[in-house]
């Protein structure tokens, strides 16, 4: 799953620590999500999207796995 967290955070001019505090998680969590190393659960994903005033789909992009 891809995300636009880094871009949206830059637009708001927020640091990783500020975003982390806004949604009540550690900075390590934000770093891992931004680097695509960790996919957040639904509650955190919603919190992140809401903190930017966006919908879930505007922040997180689901890559459909290739079949066949």
């Amino acid at each position: 799953m891809k995300n636009r967290l880094r871009v949206l955070r830059a637009e708001k001019n927020w640091s990783q620590a500020q975003l982390a505090e806004n949604v009540g998680v550690s900075r390590q969590a934000i770093i891992a999500i931004e680097n695509g190393k960790y996919d957040p659960g639904l509650p955190l994903a919603f919190k992140l999207a809401r903190s930017f005033g966006k919908s879930l789909e505007e922040v997180f992009i689901w890559n459909e796995p290739k079949t066949g």
Partner: protein
């Protein structure tokens, strides 16, 4: 030892970054209980070295550290529950790596003991294996998600 490791790895670094996180509020009670449990552990160890005690008294003393350490376990579990989902994920991996490597180390130790290459296993060494491998597991997990 685990608590100390937990405090060093988990509580202190994010505490500096974001003191408002719920898990950080557990810091003071955890540290106080750790001190209390350590004092009781040391006291029990000292008492058990005294030669004049009867066997039933020794058994009772051996159980002295249990209540404070149970409180410590409860506090650690409570703190882990307050961590954010990402940190819980890292700790789960660290615990899994620690558990499996400790099992492997004890297994290898057992075979070396059978080969008469090592003396009988001291239980304290298992504790050291747990702490060491949990630390290694934490570093591996934290680096993986960096």
């Amino acid at each position: 030892m685990y608590t100390l490791l937990f405090v060093v790895f988990e509580i202190l670094p994010p505490f500096m970054q974001n003191p408002s996180l719920p898990a950080r509020k557990s810091f003071a009670p955890l540290l106080l209980t750790l001190c209390l449990a350590s004092i009781i552990d040391l006291g029990a160890g000292w008492l058990l070295r005294q030669p004049h005690l009867t066997q039933p008294a020794r058994v009772l003393i051996a159980f002295l550290p249990v209540p404070a350490n149970l409180v410590l376990v409860a506090l650690i579990v409570g703190t882990i529950r307050k961590l954010d989902e990402f940190l819980r994920h890292v700790h789960l991996e660290a615990a899994a790596i620690g558990f499996l490597l400790t099992g492997l180390a004890v297994f290898v130790y057992g075979y070396l003991q059978r080969a008469s290459a090592l003396p009988p296993l001291n239980v304290g060494i298992v504790w050291l294996f747990m702490v060491l491998f949990y630390g290694i597991g934490y570093v591996i997990a934290a680096r993986h998600y960096r």
